[in-house]
Symmetry: C2
Subunit: 106 residues, 2 copies
DNA sequence: ATAACATTTGGTTATTATGCCAAATGTACA
DNA sequence: TGTACATTTGGCATAATAACCAAATGTTAT
């Protein structure tokens, strides 16, 4: 693994890291249904505005979401819908793991 | 988001978290080309055996890889090839981000 | 049995992430 | 202009992660 490869894997890992948090993952999937502003997420959870805002900024920095200021609000949008296909794969991992656990108990 | 949803997003985030490290990501992609033992990864990097072993155990716990002991060695295998399709999406995010940066400079 | 090899586990330290509060910024409207 | 609203930023305490070294475990062959 040379230094160029290292940078590449670091960059890809950073995108994954942005998704690798339950709240951010939930937000990402929620945004697939249409744009939301910070307040929307605050109302659907028990997190502080600052917490929600920081999570969204992590997703934005990673390039997963986009934002647009309209009036007083900032609307966030899912920028890369292929993320959702990916989630199917993650769920496949979970199912597979479950099958394995069941097999172990038999 | 009720408590069942919360658990589900936590479980999915845990799978992503396992992948969200440059070394583990590299290992995962390497395993797509065929099984490797701990020593193989140690030789290709400058990490300690213990470091490599711990990374592999994170991937195993997440259900991404499988292991099999044969003789003195433990061989690791990619269990869920769909992870690789997912990587194409992550790379798309990177390309998209780059395009955006280029546009900003114009 | 013991020596050599392959891997894992335990322990330590440094770095990073999370979530809250408080304060700052930006925007619309009276 | 000032007040309310929406979001972001800074700071802090706590928790989680990563890498190394050393020691333990398990396996094969002498």
């Amino acid at each position: 693994m040379d230094s160029k490869d290292k940078d590449f894997y670091q960059a890809k890992a950073d995108v994954l890291k942005a998704l690798a948090h339950p709240t951010r993952l939930w937000m990402t999937e929620k945004l697939a249904d249409g744009e939301c502003c910070v307040r929307d997420f605050v109302e659907l959870t028990d997190f502080d505005f600052s917490t929600v805002s920081k999570h969204l900024s992590v997703l934005k920095r990673a390039g997963i979401v986009d934002d647009e200021k309209r009036g007083k609000q900032v609307f966030y949008r899912l920028k890369v819908p292929c993320i959702l296909n990916f989630m199917q794969c993650v769920e496949a991992v979970l199912r597979d793991r479950l099958d394995h656990q069941i097999t172990m108990l038999k």
